[in-house]
Symmetry: C2
Subunit: 392 residues, 2 copies
Amino acid sequence: MSFDVTKTCRHSSARAAMLLTPHGAVPTPAFAPVGTQATVKTLTPDELSSLGATIVLSNTYHLYLRPGIEVIEALGGLHRFMGWPRPLLTDSGGYQVFSLAHLRRVSDDGVLFRSHIDGSEHFLTPELCIQLQQTIGADIIMALDECPAYGDDRDAVEQAMKRTHLWAERCRNTHHGESQDLYGIVQGGVFTELRRDSARALASMGFDGYAIGGLSLGEPKEMTNAIVEETVARLPEDRPRYLMGVGSPEDLFEGVSRGIDLFDSALPTRIARNGGLFTRRGRVIIKNACFKDRDEPIDHWCDCYTCQTFSAAYLHHLFKCEELLAYRLATVHNLRFVLRLMDEMRAHINQGTFPSFKESFLADYEPASEDIRRAQKDKWLKARDRKFKQAL
Amino acid sequence: MSFDVTKTCRHSSARAAMLLTPHGAVPTPAFAPVGTQATVKTLTPDELSSLGATIVLSNTYHLYLRPGIEVIEALGGLHRFMGWPRPLLTDSGGYQVFSLAHLRRVSDDGVLFRSHIDGSEHFLTPELCIQLQQTIGADIIMALDECPAYGDDRDAVEQAMKRTHLWAERCRNTHHGESQDLYGIVQGGVFTELRRDSARALASMGFDGYAIGGLSLGEPKEMTNAIVEETVARLPEDRPRYLMGVGSPEDLFEGVSRGIDLFDSALPTRIARNGGLFTRRGRVIIKNACFKDRDEPIDHWCDCYTCQTFSAAYLHHLFKCEELLAYRLATVHNLRFVLRLMDEMRAHINQGTFPSFKESFLADYEPASEDIRRAQKDKWLKARDRKFKQAL
């Protein structure tokens, strides 16, 4: 495993680097599509590769509950189980336990939670978290963190941060071997001082890479950007920096220009399945009547299979009919859009033209408003919670 | 358009032929996957080709209601709309109007029905049916028929048959041009004498091909086979024979050995989405616990992407999680299974070894029992009706 910065931007903190893993190279800045349950929804591994994905994220929490770690172990590890031979990253389950599971009790020892699927009780410790991820076998694994909600008060956030540091240390002590990199996760909510403390504390422990967790949870974008900036400034320059849960085109530009190397987010694939498609001018809603007979691709600029093959009218029709192909073609489009954007950002960093590329992209691209984003997220969260309640 | 029988079996009525259309060749016997709403559920046109599909069926009734024929016309016809440049077949809508729509009134003039989607009223005549199909632009189009249910009494079936003949004649008179073949549909339920009358009546009108409709609707298999045999014997030898709605492996063998050239059925794709997967030994239910950690493909014999790439355990996991990729991988498998079976049947007919191939396949293959088939069909029909009721 190695990480080499090959180029830094002269007018921003953007940088291009090469992250090497036992399963291949990840040129950064990179975006990791989310394959929560050992599948990036609707897509095959072959398609993911051809879309330009170099690394995929999966979720320890979900895999632990279903199919169960023993099944993945029996099937030869996650790479083989899901048919993805390239770099994999697993998150620790911290975020899911605190946002998805029914929490029972958190202490410095660990966290007792009930499964969102069947209500069964489980106790997750930092040590178990690392053991699970070692068995799953991803190239990059994450320390267990406590992720407070946006809006929690400073004392609660500070307590969660301190516990995150305690757990990070225990994760680091449990982790062994050379085949997996372990990243620590900076917490501290929207409190600049806590973020600085957290970055410094984790950096002093010496991780293979550093993630910034607990952002993009509803706070204003200016706040996200400011926190990222403060945090990055206190992380070692020679290690990868990973901004968790960020994946809209405009946010990727902001992260990259602040020195982030790696991103993951379910946003591009989730909004795709809801008919929200990226174009160079912004997000469009394909179900809108204006697309009913539009004899053009979603986005003329796009080189994806969907845009090269089908009209917007056809996609509109598939969405109206709730045809399964709709979700797949939309996912192909949005992922290709984001992955190609990352390719272009890397190329522009290497050519020394990143700031003008960013400026010209953002001049054309109208981001979804905060209101729309919040409304869509609420709708999705409600649908998800409804589904989970039905399951219990 | 042409149809040339290249080889006939000496020990059965099986035959191999070449059907040429303006969009390419269809070597027969052939199976047409069903793309009801201008998409074979979950699959792209590229995948369909690589699975070995040479012709796809779509539904006039569904396309007429959604997206509307005017949209398909504006987008350049169905081939271009759905991105499938090869042979297409549309059914007339007769079957759907009588099984799916809310019937209002049937007379010799035509049929007044209410859409299953929004309850809107529509009047379908034989002339309109042909005009719609000309606009859609498939290579093979079907005459409007009245399709009685299994269990209707002989008088009702005879009346529907007579109306089908009347409509067939009007369809033939409306149909013009050389770029589309028009097939008549034999009706007559399970009454041998009516079937003979119907085959003779349609043959005397002179169609480009002949379909056998109104079978596989719940009658015992021996009855289906006997009716097919009686009907085929009265159809012209030099024209294609198309058995509608038949697509299980064992039924395809029975149809081919009785001289059928073309089949369509939603069965392989529909049961795939419900986790029913074909193997050389019979249908398996992938959700069953025995597959939880099975480190083998669904079927060792299968050369499909799913079987070449994933374990049964992975498919089991995807189905348990209701992941969209499950439905796609299962569809790939079942369609490849059936399309490859057709390839093999053609090869064996050409080599003169069809009867022994049939015998050896059926010796290993245990068909789903009538009870299971009926239970699964009832379950599916109920789910469909529930969905449509919600929509109205």
